[in-house]
């Protein structure tokens, strides 16, 4: 297990290094110039370039940037009066993480319930409805879902606020919008797995022992059906991170998504680089954690994973 963890950790570091280097190279290749639009005298221009360290040769800039990133310093924003990019990201990360984690939670819980119910009542109305819902969930982009929720629940019915970020109520609709693909995937996996588990001999044993139906389902069936659901948590978490970029736009939430879109519009290189690197660390980290989690939950995966 330790060897496997170390190996994965090594890959993670190499991956992040590749991403940081690629981001750096691409930012230098970009045709635009943050100072081009404003007419500045050459002396002022040189002064600004010096202030941001842009007058030094590229390799020097690169090594310096790499060193700073490792220490968590992502530089200063070019468009927001030299504010620290790290601070801006941490500020935006709060709301994003909140709706993201809440969305994952909503999705997992609803998906597990839907999946188990449809496995237990195969062929029933609930089963068919949840299958239909699962197909819709993977087919309708979550930002369309977000707009629909905001319009119907927020504007037409007025149950929850359709946008902005003030109190807890404001986080429910965005989280729901993000949770739709999660519900769809989790319920599908749980159903398939549950149907298989219910046919196993140990289910008969449990029934023969005279256990309560609820105990059988929760302790024996659901627990074993959970493993494949965990295996897709990684891709689902990434799906949520991607989705939050646009869902935040629709609900006007001051999170990472908004930060990223503004940085692209403003040609704010340091901010773009910072957000990109932050997203990479987040995604690569999530994949790493989920991989380790499999090993903890299901020793069979650990063994086959270590052998590779």
């Amino acid at each position: 297990m330790l060897r496997y963890t170390l190996k994965r950790l090594g890959y993670m570091v190499v991956t992040l290094w590749v991403i940081i280097t690629a981001t750096f190279v691409m930012m230098k290749m970009l045709p635009g110039d943050p100072l081009k639009s404003e007419k500045v005298p050459p002396e002022v221009r040189a002064q600004i370039l010096k202030q941001y360290g842009l007058d030094q040769p590229l390799p020097v800039q690169y090594v310096k940037y790499l060193g700073n990133v490792v220490q968590g310093d992502l530089g200063k924003s070019l468009s927001f009066d030299g504010r620290s990019v790290t601070d801006m990201i941490l500020e935006g990360f709060g709301p994003s993480a909140f709706i993201g984690i809440q969305g994952l939670l909503f999705g997992t819980v609803i998906g597990l319930i839907l999946g188990s119910v449809s496995a237990l009542k195969r062929g029933s109305l609930i089963d068919n409805a949840s299958t239909f819902f699962a197909v819709l969930g993977v087919s309708i982009p979550n930002f369309v879902m977000a707009a629909l929720l905001s319009y119907y629940v927020g504007v037409v019915w007025g149950i929850l606020p359709p946008g902005l970020w003030e109190s807890y109520e404001y986080s429910i609709l965005p989280s729901l919008a993000l949770s739709f693909p999660v519900i769809a995937q989790i319920s599908r996996y749980t159903r398939t797995e549950m149907v298989e588990v219910l046919d196993q001999d140990y289910m008969k044993t449990a029934k023969a022992k005279g256990l309560e139906r609820s105990a059988i389902i929760i302790r024996h069936a659901l627990r074993n059906a959970l493993i494949p659901a965990v295996t897709i948590l990684g891709p689902l978490a990434i799906n949520i991170i991607t989705g939050s970029l646009v869902v935040e736009q629709i609900f006007a939430i001051p999170g990472m998504g908004e930060l990223f879109v503004t940085s692209v519009i403003n040609n704010d290189y340091t901010l773009i680089m910072g957000v990109t690197i932050f997203y990479s660390v987040l995604i690569v980290g999530v994949i790493f954690l989920v991989d380790l989690l499999y090993g903890v939950i299901d020793p069979r995966i650990r063994l086959s994973g270590a052998k590779e």
Binding site: M26, P31, V138, P141, F143, S150, P162, S280
Partner: protein, 309 residues
């Protein structure tokens, strides 16, 4: 004992059967593809998906051409008209552009991007995965390490970085998505290659002196076609979604050009006032993604029955 006495030589005459009848098979021979097609047709959802995609494809390529409106001509007199206003079936947008024409034109652009991206995925993935799986040994080792690194770089990051330096357009978007998305295809192909290359018919071909190129193209590729087709089918809805996503955050196709992503983004801006402007493109993109998912499921069951769930 008494029965044996009744056996006369006349009983042992050869039967009188015509040559043609001898060669007749009980059932018509069914090839792999025909069999797969029969299995595919027995799946109702997959068939409906195929019909919807054909219908949408035809509309996307024909509707903008025969429409009396242009996808970008603005008309200030008829801004934001509801659906079914005059001959504007889907209504008009904030510049008075006909939404029917724009939606189908956008669908065409989105489909083009998706197909191109899936095709590029296919070319890169099959080449890389094929070489890696077929040659094995050190070549495979090096290529697999490269893949492992690439695989852990998030698609989102690769596409966004590439879109920052590319000019937005159909080809750049497709290329960016292919660069980010070919790795799963390469993995599928490699796994299949590893499985196939140790089988007897490949050994036989090699013993008979067939070149690497011939073995790859004549023996290996046709046998991995099934999984490849399935992977391509699932790559298309992903590409459609990614295009919409990119256009939505301002990195994809730029207005006044249209794609489903652009239309969704424009529709989302005004959906609280004019929900129909979001509704139609949303219906079209959802139908496309739904159909490709259904087709993919159907193809998986038809081409690779072992993967059936």
């Amino acid at each position: 004992m008494s029965a044996s006495k009744n056996l006369t030589p006349e009983l042992f005459q050869p039967a009188m059967i015509a040559d043609s009848a001898k060669n007749q098979l009980a059932r018509e021979r069914v090839g792999f593809w025909k069999d797969a097609w029969r299995r595919y047709c027995s799946n109702k959802g997959a068939l409906i998906g195929l019909i919807i995609i054909i219908a949408i494809g035809l509309l996307a390529f024909i509707a903008p051409a025969v429409s009396s409106y242009d996808y970008q001509t603005q008309n200030v007199k008829i801004q934001n008209k509801e659906s079914f206003y005059g001959d504007h079936i889907f209504g008009t947008d904030k510049f008075g552009r006909d939404l029917w024409t724009r939606t189908w034109y956008g669908a065409k652009i989105s489909l083009l991007i998706a197909f191109l991206a899936a095709f590029l995925d296919l070319v890169i993935g099959v080449t890389f995965g094929g070489i890696s799986g077929y040659f094995g040994g050190r070549v495979d080792m090096i290529l697999q390490r490269i893949i492992e690194i690439l695989y852990s770089i998030p698609n989102l990051i690769v596409v966004i970085l590439l879109m920052l330096i590319f000019e937005p357009g159909i080809v750049p978007i497709a290329v960016a998505m292919a660069v980010a998305g070919w790795v799963p295809m390469a993995r599928v192909v490699r796994a299949q290659m590893l499985k196939l290359k140790s089988q007897e018919f490949v050994l036989a071909a090699r013993t008979l002196g067939a070149s690497h190129g011939r073995i790859l193209t004549k023996h290996m590729i046709p046998n991995v076609m099934g999984p490849i087709i399935i992977a391509v089918t699932f790559a298309i809805p992903t590409a459609i979604f990614f295009e919409a996503f990119l256009s939505f955050i301002g990195l994809g196709i730029r207005p006044p050009e249209a794609s489903l992503g652009v239309l969704l983004s424009e529709g989302a801006d005004v959906f609280q006032l004019f929900p129909y402007q979001l509704f139609w493109p949303a219906v079209v993109i959802s139908l496309i993604m739904l159909s490709f998912n259904l087709i993919g499921d159907g193809l998986r069951d038809a081409l690779d029955p072992r993967m059936r769930k």
